[in-house]
């Protein structure tokens, strides 16, 4: 096999060379470079020499501990409660900023839960990174079914022989061609809290019963708003891929199904869907990888706010590497992101493999 590749395929290799060398130069070399940088203290701007620091950057990002807080008690030993009856606990900063516990220095509360009278507090050395990690996973979790499913639905709709169907194809595909920055700016107006289009439409539809929501300014709705807008933006791209898949299915299969008296659902379930198998694997993996790279929407619409509810890994990579001049910190996040995406793609490839 290998001898055949090297011997009789000289023209093929020659044609592949420009592509391969670009991939090598802009994907593979930077990755190894990033991996090396993540083990140093490289800054963007600095007269100080770069030093090797081992795994310090990884420890700074990933360290997590659990604290157990005892309730505060008064002299009689009774648990102190505030006006609402909630148990009063000592502040986390009394531990993380105390000289008695140097191991917790610089850590901050990520989240907490209650265990009897006690409170268990998870503290992390980089809460923003942790929130970015959770947000990115949430984003991917929602965007994959929304975008993949929505795109399939659109593809089925436009895969009909109707007059003017090309107009619909164009309209659905349009957001893909427009720059994501422009789209993000437009959606910022749509989501605007006071005079936004979305609020106006919802108010009109409910005859004024709807109270306007500050979609991007509230921690409850910000990430959801960005997910919805992102799903809409890229749905057209995957629609075209699904459409290509649909058009490879032989019409004779549909004719046979019609003769057998199959219902619409049965046709989809037993003819269309099995025919789309390979397309589905492609769409799934592509959307997953793209969704982990979400950046432009965040940068234009929320800057990671409010209260870190829309922080994502790539946004943090850029923010640290370029904004805060910490190239090694940014490189560390991108290495972690790479390993994550690699792992998830490998699992997906395994689960969707051909089984005979």
């Amino acid at each position: 096999m290998s001898s055949k590749l090297t011997r009789s395929n000289r023209a093929g290799w020659l044609f592949a060379l420009p592509g391969f060398s670009l991939l090598f130069l802009f994907i593979i070399v930077p990755f190894f470079f990033a991996f090396w940088l993540s083990l140093t203290n490289q800054r963007l701007v600095s007269p100080n020499p770069t030093e090797f620091v081992g795994l310090k950057n990884y420890a700074d990002l990933l360290s997590v501990s659990v604290l157990t807080l005892e309730p505060e008690r008064d002299e009689a030993g009774e648990i102190r409660r505030d006006d609402d009856g909630a148990i009063a606990y000592p502040r986390v900063r009394s531990i993380t900023r105390s000289d008695e516990f140097p191991q917790y220095r610089g850590m901050r509360e990520w989240f907490r839960w209650h265990w009897g009278d006690k409170a268990k507090v998870v503290i992390a050395s980089d809460v923003v990174f942790m929130k970015a990690l959770v947000n990115t996973l949430t984003f991917a979790l929602f965007i994959v079914p929304l975008q993949g499913g929505g795109a399939l639905l659109l593809a089925l709709l436009i895969n009909q022989k109707l007059r003017g169907i090309n107009a619909f194809r164009t309209i659905y595909f349009m957001p893909v061609v427009i720059s994501i920055v422009v789209i993000s700016l437009l959606w910022r107006f749509i989501y605007s809290g006071n005079e936004g289009l979305l609020n106006n439409i919802l108010e009109a539809l409910t005859f004024g019963a709807f109270t306007p929501v500050d979609w991007l300014g509230s921690t409850d709705t910000a990430l959801g708003s960005i997910i919805a807008m992102s799903a809409w933006q890229a749905v057209g791209f995957h629609m075209v891929i699904w459409l290509a898949g649909l058009q490879t299915i032989s019409p004779t299969l549909y004719e046979a199904a019609a003769i057998e008296g199959a219902s619409k659902w049965q046709t989809f379930r037993y003819v269309t869907w099995p025919g789309l198998r390979n397309t589905a694997v492609l769409v799934l993996i592509v959307i997953t990888m793209q969704s982990f790279a979400v950046f432009a929407q965040i940068d234009v619409m929320t800057n990671g706010g409010p209260l870190d509810s829309t922080q994502t890994l790539v946004f943090q990579t850029v923010e640290r590497g370029y904004g805060k001049q910490d190239i090694s910190g940014g490189a560390t996040i991108s290495v972690i992101l790479f390993l994550m995406v690699l792992m998830i793609s490998a699992v997906q490839a395994f689960l969707t493999r051909e089984r005979n």
Binding site: N41, R43, L44, V45, S46, P47, N48, R91, V92, R93, T96, R97, G106, R108, E109, V127, S192, G193, N194, E195, D214, L216, G217, T219, N303, G305, P306, L307, D308, E319, Y322, G323, K324, Q325, D326
Partner: protein
């Protein structure tokens, strides 16, 4: 071989000829104002005058859009391609000087006599950059609003106290005439936050970093004064005095003009447009920052000229900067794009900043209350941390925890940079 020699000879001869034709040495200047025609024309005029006025130097300009200017400089510094004369934002200058992008500017003392202090960029005891102008921030208001709400008109000598300021906001809110009492400009992300809001913190008695040695933010950004500042900052949003971080940028630009806001915290660069757009320009007043206990201060230092470390002729660069510092040019920039001229004499030559002019108050603000942002290479990072802390607090984050986290991040950064050479 013969031919090579011949070509080489021709090359040398032609170079010598070209050199003789213009004995001037070329100096490249990078500027941040691409896209602004008025600004480019004024700068172009200065350069033309300079090139014609002497025989040693020939300055050529390359303009960049402001948003990508700093990135371009950093990228070209990493690639070893810096021009001779650089335009640099005041608070960023120490970072570039420390990184070795800039060298001291050999400018004569008389060229900068009488200039506003904040227009001179000093680092490590030497002058690195000099600006032709400064910028100032004031509280935009209408005299009719003050009269209607029964408020005292504050002056430079006697600004509002914290109680008076909060009373004014409460009165404006209670009147029901406005969407919000105060427009802070939270829609403007980036440098606006530390530039416009850190003076409030300083007025409370805190700061972004401890300016004594610049080695830590502990105590400055999370001490008692800073906690008090944080609680006050949060109350502005929690009690509905000011729109939060999701403020519509369009409202920021026109909200005060349209009467949506009673007061607006805005810079002198927006003043000319405001005066031109409001119904009654005489009614608009520019009030000094409130005094929260430690005096009123506003941010200072705008774009300035410096010499890059790659420049072989710093004396040529200094000659150009000295030429550009003439009052007539300062006045031209001021009239053209609304900036505060760096000297009193130049201010008198302008339409807006001359005594009795509509914006004269901004010159006094700059002269009296300006406090430069922390003069440290670490400022660029600390500014980002400060911005995030303020937007988090505005959105309801716990004040003490947020300020602590900001202090930790700034301290970690200072440590990672081995103290930033202080």
């Amino acid at each position: 071989m013969q031919r090579t020699k011949l070509t080489l000879g021709a090359l040398v001869a032609s170079t010598a000829l070209a050199g003789m034709a213009s004995a001037q040495t070329e100096l490249t200047l990078w500027y941040h104002g691409a896209g602004n025609e008025v600004e480019s024309n004024i700068l172009g005029g200065i350069i033309e005058d300079f090139n014609g006025a002497q025989e040693d130097w020939q300055v050529t300009v390359e303009s960049f859009p402001q948003e990508s200017y700093n990135d371009s400089v950093v990228a070209s510094a990493l690639a070893g391609n810096l021009p001779c004369i650089l335009d640099v934002d005041g608070p960023v200058m120490p970072n570039w000087a420390w990184a070795g992008y800039l060298q001291p500017l050999p400018i004569s003392q008389e060229a900068i006599d009488g200039h506003l202090d904040a227009t001179i960029g000093r680092w490590d005891g030497e002058i690195y950059s000099v600006g032709l102008w400064d910028a100032a921030v004031a509280l935009y208001a209408r005299q009719s609003t003050l009269d209607e709400l029964g408020l005292r008109t504050p002056s430079l000598e006697e600004p509002w106290t914290k109680e008076e300021f909060m009373g004014a906001l409460e009165a404006a809110k209670a009147s029901g005439n406005y969407d919000f009492a105060l427009d802070l400009g939270t829609a403007w992300t980036g440098e606006w936050y530390p530039y416009a809001f850190s003076p409030f913190l300083q007025s409370f008695g805190g700061d972004i970093v401890d300016r004594d040695g610049y080695q830590t933010a502990e105590g400055a950004l999370n001490g008692e004064a800073a906690m008090e500042f944080g609680a006050w900052w949060q109350s502005l949003f929690a009690e509905g005095y000011a729109p939060g971080t999701s403020q519509d940028p369009a409202d920021r630009d026109s909200g005060f003009i349209e009467g949506k806001y009673a007061f607006s915290w805005n810079g002198n660069w927006a003043a000319a447009n405001t005066l031109a757009s409001v119904e009654n320009a005489d009614d608009v007043v520019f009030l000094p920052a409130p005094d929260f206990g430690n005096g009123s201060t506003i941010g200072a230092a705008s774009w300035q000229f410096g010499v890059s470390s790659a420049c072989e002729h710093p004396e040529g660069a200094a000659a150009f900067v000295e030429h550009a510092l003439q009052d007539e040019y300062l006045a031209a920039f001021s009239d053209g794009i609304g900036l505060i001229p760096a000297t009193k004499e130049a201010a008198q030559m302008t339409e807006s900043y001359a005594e009795g002019g509509p914006l004269a108050v901004f010159f006094d603000l700059s002269a009296e209350q300006a406090l430069v942002r922390p003069v440290s290479p670490g400022y660029v990072v600390a500014a980002k941390v400060f911005e995030k802390a303020l937007s988090d607090i505005a959105n309801g984050a716990d004040v003490a925890d947020t300020l602590d986290a900001a202090v930790d991040e700034i301290d970690d950064d200072i440590e990672a940079n081995q103290g930033y050479g202080h």
